[in-house]
Point group: C2
């Protein structure tokens, strides 16, 4: 591995000239620059990151801290972020925390220690002091999907509340009066915003809202849904707060042989593969998943280049209500809803279909 010194010798100049050419730190004469570039080319010099970091420079590494990589939403987002970061010359250090805050703290610590240039995080807790510490020590941070309370970091989020409100309104417009909202019981931003949106729509329509939280703290989906469905006035429509809950709910409906949309209507937050495969196809709120990852990475890169530009603002991306059949709407054309007629494929294929194979 040739070093700066080797380049300097070959070029017949001092080491600092080489360093300055490589980093564009200061003016060098055209003549020197030419010689240096030629020497670099000739001996195939590549800067040594370890030495740079040792000297106290920031590395060209971006840390990605996500709750889970096996979740399609998060994986797609991470994929886009990684791709964008790579294109900008960064390597991506990925850590999945498994939704555990102690793991999040631990990896954050290690990342700071190893001088990452910036971090892209989907935080899994409320106590964000570890991120605050990172921000204070000069590491740029951008959060995705959820704002980072008490930390000076931009956030890229979606219009959860508005979208949930629209979804509930759509069900109301279909004549439903008893609409239940099923979400997980985790106290995270997105869940609370979506519940707030649902509640807002119900209130406006002077309808009673019923929120059914499921999870480790609140109890089993099957029990809760059974209870609601067995009541004197069972719901005729469901709004589910995420693709995971949609999956579980759809299983329950299938088990109880409840048909959509007649016996029960349904709208889900998050689009998912099965949504277009089922009969009826599921009406969903689609998030700009890849955009979230891509824009977050772009934003982070900009902030790394110019740390002063951090404002701590929230940037909100728009979601899209994708009307299919589970809400009671007619499919546009038989079974061809959501189909790209030109390519004879489901339109808006998941990212993974963009590979060369398909």
């Amino acid at each position: 591995m040739p070093s700066l010194l080797d380049v300097a010798k070959v070029a017949g100049v001092g080491v600092m000239s080489v360093s300055r050419v490589v980093n564009g730190t200061r003016k060098v004469s055209p003549e020197t620059e030419r010689k240096v570039r030629a020497a670099i080319e000739r001996i195939g010099y590549e800067p040594n990151e370890a030495a740079r970091i040792l000297k106290g420079q920031r590395s060209h590494v971006i840390g990605l801290i996500f709750p889970d990589l096996s979740d399609p939403f998060l994986a797609t987002c991470a994929n886009a972020a990684q791709e964008t970061a790579r294109a900008a010359g960064y390597v991506t250090w990925v850590a999945a925390t498994g939704h555990r805050e102690e793991v999040e703290r631990e990896v954050t610590k290690v990342m700071i220690q190893r001088n990452v240039a910036g971090m892209l995080v989907i935080p899994c807790g409320k106590q964000n002091d570890h991120f605050a510490g990172a921000a204070k020590s000069g590491i740029s941070i951008v959060s995705i999907d959820r704002p980072l309370e008490n930390v000076k970091a931009e956030s890229l989020i979606v219009d959860n509340r508005h979208a949930a409100c629209r979804a509930a309104e759509h069900l109301i417009e279909h004549g439903h009066r008893r609409i239940i909202c099923i979400t997980d019981d985790f106290p995270i931003f997105t869940r609370m915003e979506r519940v707030a949106g649902y509640t807002q729509a119900m209130k406006r329509a002077k309808l009673p809202g019923q929120i059914c939280a499921v999870g480790a703290m609140s109890g089993d989906l099957s029990d809760q849904l059974g209870f609601a469905l067995g009541s004197a006035n069972p719901p005729t429509a469901i709004f589910v707060g995420s693709d995971l809950i949609a999956f579980l709910t759809l299983h329950e409906l299938r088990k109880r042989s409840l048909t959509m949309p007649d016996e029960i209507a349904l709208i889900a937050f998050d689009d998912f593969d099965a949504a277009t495969l089922l009969t009826p196809a599921i009406t969903v709120i689609r998030q700009p998943v890849s955009d979230l990852g891509r824009q977050a990475a772009e934003l982070l890169c900009r902030q790394i280049d110019n740390p002063a530009s951090a404002t701590g603002a929230r940037i909100t991306l728009k979601t899209e209500l994708v009307i299919r059949e589970s809400c009671g709407c007619k499919a546009k054309s038989n079974a061809d809803h959501d189909f790209d007629m030109l390519r004879r494929r489901p339109s808006r294929l998941p990212d993974r279909f963009r590979g060369p194979c398909y």
Copy 2:
């Protein structure tokens, strides 16, 4: 950030004693060790990776090179690998190549340059000289899902051929004689093995095999399937070679209002969310996705500790034929197939459901 020198001062010993205690490189007297450990504890010393790497040591970084992170199969595998590596004290750099070999080469180069200790790869091409180079320069490599031709690296793969053969046999046992095999047209190991397994079963049963390759090189799934279905002797059963192709195929069947299993039977390679949600539920070959990632990471860590142990062997993991309804079998109990009755949930939930929320 306290350094080794600081520790040495506090402990009242030389730097080398500290270094030896930290790394366990050589014997130190119990007395010295005690003093050093106390000093480390007291000032909160953490070794500096950059300095270690600069001195020519291997880092504690593992590189993950995957074709795509948004694909559920690959994402789940990456997630498990990352988790395992973290537990073993390694940091994971992740790169998604987008199935592009030039990107694979590029990220491999960067990782070698930055002294990763090892790489976990799902290669996307045949020309593996960049990996061969890495292996030669002392970086341990383990490949997943596909063997690494011409490189001395272990591979963790599944019994593709056997499983595909079993799937085809299962359809044959159901009385089907015209079974078509639909796969992508990408010349990768898994595809070829699965086709070989299908062919083997058909040959044994003295049945004519029909392989339908779809993709950028071969053409549209809709056209190909339409052609096959419109022939004088249309197939009565389909074996699809991957979850992606299953998704597209199921869309086609839905569009043509073909009912399973009566009008057309189907078995798919790879389990996927929609498989248990559809009616009929889809019979699939389930791969041990997380195990693949976990075991690969464990293997890699072992090889990093003992580079001589690399044999270049292939380790084959078993898949499982999950009988559901799309092949013509009766569901075990009404709609409750694949349901964990105790927890009232679909059993074998995807990894992401293991979070604290559900």
